[in-house]
C-alpha cells in the first residue's frame, strides 16, 4: 500500500561521515556487486564498452569543492568533500505516496523503503518525487531500482554475523559509513549523530530523511608565527670562540658580509 505508516518500530538507516570519506567509490562497487545478483532485477549497464557508457546504480559518490570565506583578510584553502548519496529511507517519503500501483512501500517493522518489482509499471513518478535522485529506472528491466539497505543481508542468517550489514557499510575502508537503528537514542548511530551534529539533506523539502550526514570537522588554522623560528636564529651573538673569530675575520675581508 502506498499509504505511509504512521510510525515504524525501528528506523534502520545509514550515518555517513563526510569527514572520513576518502571518495574511493568502494561502496559504489560493492553495492552494485551485491545488488546486481541478489534482490530483484539485475542492475543493467548500457553500452558498457563504448564512450557513452551508462548504467543503474543505487549509490553514487559526488565530490564537492567548498570555499570557506576569507579569514583575517586572507583567502582560505578550499576543502574537497566526497559525498556518497543513496536512498535516505525518509519518514515522509514522497516517492511512496505518488506510486499508482502500490509497488513502492515503506516497511512498518524497520522503516526501509522498498519497491515490489512485480507491481512496478515503470512510470518513473517516484523518481520525479524524490529530491535526492535516489531512484533510477533500469533501462533493461523497465522497473524502478533503489537502495534496499541490503534487506537480504541484514536479516540473513546464512551469513556470518559481521556480514549482516549493508554491503556499502561492510566494505568501507575508512569507516565512513555506519548502519543502525536511528529510532533508538542509545544506538551507536544515534550517539554518533548527537555527538557530531549529524544533519539532514534538503530539510526544507519536508521528507524527514532517516539517513544522516556527519559534517567534516573544521580544519586546523595555520599559526601566524613560524614555530621553527626560534631554532633558526643565529646562536653566537656574544662574540666568543672560534666561530665568532671566523665570522669577524671573514667580515673584515673586502666585500665581506657585516
Amino acid at each position: 500500500m502506498t499509504e505511509l505508516p504512521t510510525s515504524t518500530a525501528k528506523k534502520l538507516g545509514l550515518v555517513i561521515d563526510l569527514d572520513t570519506c576518502v571518495g574511493c567509490h568502494a561502496c559504489v562497487v560493492s553495492c552494485k556487486g551485491w545488488n546486481t545478483e541478489n534482490y530483484g532485477a539485475t542492475l543493467s549497464d548500457q553500452n558498457a564498452y563504448s564512450g557513452a557508457a551508462s548504467g543503474t546504480f543505487l549509490n553514487r559518490v559526488h565530490s564537492y569543492e567548498v570555499q570557506p570565506p576569507m579569514l583575517r583578510d586572507a583567502p582560505q584553502p578550499a576543502q574537497l568533500i566526497h559525498f556518497p548519496k543513496s536512498c535516505l529511507h525518509c519518514d515522509d517519503a514522497p516517492c511512496v505516496t505518488v506510486c499508482p500501483t502500490g509497488a513502492s512501500y515503506k516497511r512498518v517493522e524497520d522503516g526501509i523503503v522498498l519497491v515490489n518489482e512485480q507491481d512496478c509499471i515503470g512510470c518513473g513518478l517516484c523518481a520525479w518525487a524524490c529530491p535526492y535522485g535516489a531512484r533510477e529506472l533500469d533501462e533493461a528491466a523497465g522497473v524502478m531500482k533503489k537502495c534496499t539497505l541490503c534487506v537480504d543481508r541484514i536479516y540473513n542468517e546464512n551469513l556470518p554475523e559481521e556480514d549482516r550489514q549493508p554491503a556499502c557499510v561492510r566494505t568501507c575502508p575508512s569507516n565512513a559509513r555506519h548502519f543502525g537503528d536511528l529510532a533508538d537514542p542509545e544506538s551507536d548511530v544515534s550517539i554518533l549523530v548527537a555527538e557530531r551534529g549529524g544533519f539532514d539533506l534538503m530539510p526544507e523539502q519536508g521528507t524527514k530523511p532517516t539517513n544522516k550526514y556527519l559534517p567534516p570537522r573544521p580544519k586546523d588554522v595555520e599559526p601566524e608565527y613560524d614555530i621553527l623560528a626560534p631554532y633558526l636564529e643565529p646562536i653566537a651573538k656574544d662574540g666568543k670562540g672560534f666561530v665568532s673569530w671566523l665570522d669577524k675575520a671573514l667580515s673584515a675581508l673586502p666585500g665581506g658580509a657585516k
Partner: protein, 290 residues
Amino acid sequence: MHPAPSVIIFTTFSGLGFGLLFWLGINPTPPTGWVAFAFFAIAYLGAVGGLLASTFHLGRPERFLKAFRQWTTSWLSREGICAVATLLTMALYGAGLVFFGTKITALGWLGALGALATIFTTSMIYAQLKTVPRWNHWTTPALFLGLSVAGGALLSGKVTVTLGLLVVTGALQAFAWFHGDGRFTASGTTMESATGLGHIGKVRAFEPPHTGTNYLMREFIHVVGRKHAMQLRVIALLLGFVVPVAFLLASFNHWLALLAVVSHVVGVLTLRWLFFAQAEHVVGLYYGKR
C-alpha cells in the same frame, strides 16, 4: 525535466479531448445523429489517443491495469480512474445522442464533471511535486483546466465563449511563466542545503559520480532546449491565443475556424514542450546544474 514527446502529446490531445467532452456534456442543445458522431469521434480520438501515447513512457506498459489501485494517495491512480469513468459515462451519453437522438441530461453533466476531474487530476500529478518548484503552484491546475476548456470550446464551435476563455488563459499562461521563473530560487533549495555543507562556505560541484551520463541526468536535467525559451514563449502565445482570437473575430467560417484550431494546437504543443523543458528538478543541484 526531459520533454518526452509521449507526455507532451498525451497532455495536449487528451486535454483537448476531455475539454470537448465537457462542452458536449453540458450543451443544452447537443448535436444528434451523424453530427454528434463526428464530435464524439474527435473527442475520443484526442482523449484515448493521448492516454495511449502516455503508456509509451512506461517501462512495463503491459502492467498498466495495476495503476488503478492506489487512488487513496496517488494522483496518477486517480487520473486513471477519472479518465476511464468519464470515457464510459460519455460513451453512454454519446450513444444516446448518436443512435437514438435522445439526451440523458444527468449523464451528460456527470460526464462533464468527470472530464474536469480528469484534467484536474492530470495537472495535480505535476503540481504535487515539491521537487519541481515551477510546477508546485496553483497556476499548474488552473492552466491545465483553462487550456482544456478553452480548446474544447474552440473545437465545439462556441465562438464567444472561446474568445473569452482564450484571452483569460493566455493571460494566465503569461503570468505563470513570469511567476514561475523565480520559484526555484524562492523554494530555498540550494547546493548548500542539498549537501548540508553551506556552514563551511560556497559549494561547487567538483567531480560528478561518473564520467558518463545516467538516468537522473537524462530525465531531470535538460539545459540545451532552454536556449530559445523566450522566442518559444512568444510563438506559443501568438499561435495558441492571439492567432485563434484574430481568426474568430475576423468572421466565422469553417475554414478560418479550422485554421484557428490548428494554430491553437501547435501553440499548446509549444507551451507544453516549454512546461517540461523549463521545469527544473532540485536533484540537478547535486550535479551543479539546473
